[in-house]
């Protein structure tokens, strides 16, 4: 199956996806004066920013509105929450022998020491590496998009797909702690309670997910000129608002 770029490339079909020239000018919706509905994917000509889609009623925007500003805000908030999420205890186990405070990483170490290497790896990847990777990638994407950089755009698009897929899996620890808290309530013998750290951790996951949702991947592909035009558009919208 092949979808040909519209309208010029139709007569010269791209033989191989891998040889696609990154920097060749491609007809884009912005350059053709089209706008696509983000929800139902209908394509409109001569639509103004903020018009309602004629099919589903969603407001149309050439790019997600205030994408970079919103992503920055959410990203910075996530970075701040990342610190208490890793330093504060996420789970408190009270047994007859005393209380044990577990952070995210001490839980991983516990699995490792008790010989459950696979599980230690899963929890380490989902709870520690994935959020860190997400923050780093979003930071990279936002900075490069802001500068209008054309550096490795294909790889950047791939990174964006990856963080969209893996982001949800960092909720793992929130669910583990919730279930253990609900389950281990044997008064007098063993009681597990959730620590403040898990709230901060949940906030990191939600904030990074919101950040990746508010980032518009199209900004990666905008040429510096087109982006300046978009920014002017945003400014004008702000002034009229």
């Amino acid at each position: 199956m092949r979808l040909f770029p519209f309208p010029r490339r139709q007569e010269s079909p791209q033989a191989d996806d891998d040889v696609f020239d990154d920097d060749a000018p491609v007809p884009t919706a912005a350059s053709l004066g089209l706008m696509a509905c983000p929800h139902c994917a209908a394509v409109w000509r001569d639509a103004q920013q903020g018009d309602a889609c004629g099919r589903c009623g969603t407001h149309l925007h050439p790019r997600k509105p205030q994408s970079l500003t919103r992503t920055w805000a959410l990203l910075i908030a996530a970075c701040i929450m990342y610190i208490p999420a890793n330093l504060l205890p996420v789970m408190i186990t009270r047994t007859l022998f005393g209380a044990q405070y577990d952070t995210i990483l001490s839980g991983v170490i516990y699995f490792w020491v008790s010989g459950a290497y696979g599980l230690a790896a899963i929890v380490f990847i989902a709870s520690f590496l994935v959020p860190l990777f997400k923050l780093a990638v979003l930071f990279l994407l936002v900075v490069l998009a802001q500068r209008g950089s054309t550096w490795r755009r294909r790889e950047r698009a791939k990174l964006y797909h990856i963080i969209e897929v893996i982001g949800r899996w960092s909720m793992l620890d929130v669910f583990v702690v919730s279930l253990l808290t609900g389950l281990v309530q044997i008064q007098g013998f063993a009681v597990i309670t959730a620590g403040v750290g898990i709230a901060a951790f949940g906030a990191v996951v939600v904030l990074t997910m919101l950040a990746s949702l508010s980032f518009d991947p199209k900004l990666t592909w905008d040429s510096p000129g087109a982006q300046a035009a978009g920014r002017n558009f945003e400014n004008r919208e702000e002034q009229t608002a």
């Binding site: 912005a30 389950l183 898990i198 905008d222």
Partner: protein, 211 residues
């Protein structure tokens, strides 16, 4: 404002393509950025309603029965998913409780109910009330249902507990496994396809009726 028919704009990089019919099992990807543009529905359309109903049944079992039971020196303790949420909120962790409630109970249930509500009338070629709003809701809810992550969380929790107590998996655990499988199949269905399904055959009729 005029609609441009048979055109696809890549949601990942804004490139414009003309839509060509897909062969069964085909997936169209943007050659520039690799974003999936379209996917052939195949026989998914007929399977999706039975799968939704199956998921709803599994969802009920998964939430009504205990997930795991532990035994510690003769003392037993068990919990359901809702039970865990209640304990969390009683401990003053209501934001976390709310997050768990939303991602594992509320959003998946909402997704399944909306899907069933949209699919049943669709087989009779008419659009239910609130169609546009509900399709949009489906699309917005998509990243936030996390049943499969929860299942992994249950497994991790079981291993964690097995060193300190006897763990007996409850009926809900198996229901969660089945639910994860059916839900993955159900939610791989792109809600955007609803617009293609109803607009092509029924759109003309509707306009005639309103004219």
């Amino acid at each position: 404002m005029k609609e441009v028919p048979d055109t696809v704009v890549c949601p990942g990089c804004d490139a414009v393509y003309s839509r060509t019919p897909l062969e069964p099992c085909d997936v169209a990807r943007c050659p520039r950025c690799g974003t999936e543009l379209d996917r052939h529905l195949g026989s998914q359309q007929q399977r999706i309603l039975p799968l939704t109903v199956a998921s709803l049944i599994m969802f009920a079992i998964a939430n009504l029965f205990p997930i795991v039971e532990i035994e510690l020196r003769g003392l037993r303790s068990q919990t359901t998913l809702a039970g865990a949420v209640v304990v969390l909120s009683a401990e003053g962790m209501s934001p976390v409780a709310l997050l768990v409630l939303a991602t594992t109970i509320l959003f998946p249930l909402l997704q399944l109910c909306i899907l069933a509500y949209l699919l049943v009338p669709l087989s009779r070629q008419y659009r239910p009330v609130g169609f546009a709003l509900l399709v949009r809701a489906m699309q917005s809810l998509r990243p936030w249902g996390m049943i499969e992550v929860f299942l992994l969380g249950v497994l991790v929790a079981i291993v964690k507990l097995s060193s300190m107590a006897t763990v007996v998996p409850g009926p809900a655990l198996w229901a969660f496994v089945a639910l994860t499988v059916t839900l993955t199949a159900v939610l791989s269905f792109n809600p955007g396809a609803f617009w293609e399904m109803t607009f092509r055959p029924a759109g003309g009729k509707e306009e005639e009726a309103s004219a």
